[in-house]
Amino acid sequence: MTAQTQTTQPGSVDSAIVLKKARKSLSGPIASSAVALIAILWTLPTLGLFINSFRSKEDAATTGWWQFFLHPSFSLSGYRQVLFDNGGMVQPLINSFAITIPATIIPIFIASMAGYALAWMRFKGSDAIFFTLFALQVVPLQMALVPLQQFYHKGLQFYGVTILPAPPVGHGVTGVMAQIWMSHTMFSLPLAVFLIHNFIAQIPGSLIEAAKIDGASDLRIYQSVVLPLSMPAIASFGIFQFLWVWNDLLVAKTFGGSDPAEQPVTARMQSLVGNFGAHQELLAPAGFLSIVVPLIVFLSLQRYFVRGLMAGSVKG
């Protein structure tokens, strides 16, 4: 490596040109068109949904969305029905927020505290805990569904003896929402701790030491040094988790009811699709509404999202 670096030192102008050529080895008009083709192919399906959501019921049911370009027609009746009439997407949208916001914010605190403990308050066994948490990341959450459902109803029991009471989540919509975000919080922790820990571990030791010399306690250091400094990692995890929870169907189906008033958008969409024909005309506007929030979050915070993905999968 060093030898190569040295040989490139003289004549850096030449090498810059060569370098550009090497980088461009696969570009050129063919490559550009190939990229454009993939991008168009990847966009067409979503574009179809988007266009259909603004077409009238009759048009969308009888002709393909591409006919829009030949016979443009525009109608908001689908959205009106979905939002204000009996389409019932408003409560599911609210429910999705009610699940996603606590399920994103609460793990951030719990995981950053744990990450801090594992990185800066090492003790015998802390490495073992770290590796266990890391390994738990890939445990399919399917493994937890049935017992967790029992736990919410009856508490944790061992041979008929209640070890932990069921959490007091209440009844009705809010009770169901609470079960769902609690489950998401639990399932998110292995990844969250791992991701945020890796970042916290890189905080310069001198900063922590300086705070200690000033007489700050461990908890104080977390509050005023570690938490503010780990914002980039927290943002990355936060966006990742927001999209994950918003888009989840399995947990929502398992712990949510079948009553539309108790469902987040994904579960609501799924039952709309399942009702073959019954509400076919609502699918496009409802579908677009269900994806628009994550799309906005994604497009505005893409940079952080990418960073989170990297830290999660190609660390080092």
């Binding site: 370098l19 990229v35 969305w65 908890l219 699709v273």
Partner: protein
């Protein structure tokens, strides 16, 4: 007041109540945390550090224990029993019977083989197309638009994706105009009587896989693109000086240099694919020979009252993941040892 206003009002109040519960949950949590910190910071001396460790690490460990570890053990236990419906009081152990059923019942066997096909096809194509796009864009100018467009499906739910792809796979008996893009395109290309895509075995399974690939390619592209960028310029340059270009540069230099990342992306996509049930659940509900393990497991547990059978399938999914988990742990160990 007219009677129609009553449901409207109650709907609004439910909505408000739900919004209030968000605030309640988040604010409540932060207040409790703040109080604990406030009290615990009075502690000094020998108990300070242990107390700090318990407060910071305790909640995470407790939640993981309640939410993942204990339930997983219970599910393994359940898979050796004969429980049929949730909350059933009298159950007994029947040994490996549920696993025997899983590996002898012809429907389940087919499901497993189909799941294996998913595990091979989806990761290969996702990583293949992702790598191709990343390579094509490496060194290209103005890539942010195509990159965003290809990456965008990552933010879309599997359910949303299924609705989106419904408008691609829709099928109408031929004389009538097609509403699905796929039929329209193949008919324009001269195939006059295409099948009803979603009902046609085995094409339908591959069409469902396409949805998954559509979602995963962006992820693969972004991660692999970053890895390609990280290859030191000097290495590419010296390879270039020795005459390696295009495909050779790609095969002999770029791919080996990012092999670790390729493996990571492959394993991530494999795990995601193994767990995904939304696509099949939404598109076909497992009908027309499209079922996969995670969908059948869900049905066993929550629809058809074969809880223990479903638990056995969950354990099988878990066992399939273990080698990947072991590999990941080993990689992490290595990384940590190297600093």
């Amino acid at each position: 007041m007219s009677p129609t206003l009553i449901p409207m009002e109650s709907a609004t109040s439910v909505a408000l109540l739900t919004l209030l519960s968000i605030v309640e949950a988040v604010v409540g949590f932060i207040v409790v945390l703040f109080l604990i910190f406030f009290v615990a910071q009075r502690a000094r001396g020998r108990i300070e550090r242990p107390l700090a460790i318990v407060i910071t690490l305790g909640p995470a460990l407790l939640l993981v224990l309640i939410g993942l570890i204990i339930p997983s053990i219970e599910t393994i236990n359940l898979s050796f029993k004969n429980q049929q419906f949730l909350g059933q009081l009298v159950t007994k152990y029947i040994g490996l019977e549920n696993y025997k059923t899983a590996f002898t019942d012809s429907y389940t066997l087919q499901t497993m083989l189909r799941t294996l096909a998913w595990l091979v096809v989806v990761p290969l194509f996702s990583v293949g197309i992702g790598l191709l796009s990343a390579l094509l864009m490496d060194g290209m100018k103005r890539t942010s638009l195509p990159k965003t467009l290809i990456f965008l499906p990552t933010a879309i739910s599997f359910v949303g994706a299924s609705v989106i792809w419904g408008y691609v796979y829709n099928y109408v008996e031929p004389p009538a105009p097609q509403t699905g893009l796929l039929s329209e395109v193949v008919m324009k290309l001269g195939w006059h009587n295409p099948p009803n895509w979603i009902l046609d075995v085995p094409v339908n399974t591959f069409l469902l896989m396409v949805i998954m690939i559509w979602i995963q390619v962006g992820f693969a592209m972004v991660i692999l693109g970053a890895a390609l960028k990280a290859i030191p310029e000097e290495i590419l340059e010296s390879a270039r000086l020795e005459g390696a270009t295009g495909a050779r540069l790609f095969r002999n230099i770029q791919v080996p240099m990012i092999m670790n990342t390729i493996v990571v992306v492959l394993t991530t996509v494999i795990i995601t694919t193994l767990k995904v049930f939304d696509i099949v659940f939404t598109m076909t509900n497992g009908n027309f020979n499209t079922d996969v393990l995670s969908r059948q497991m869900y049905a066993d547990m929550f629809v058809t009252s074969q809880v223990s059978q479903g638990a056995a399938l969950a354990v099988i999914i878990f066992i399939l993941v273990i080698p990947l988990m072991a590999y990941n742990v080993r990689q992490l160990r290595k990384e940590r040892e190297h600093g």
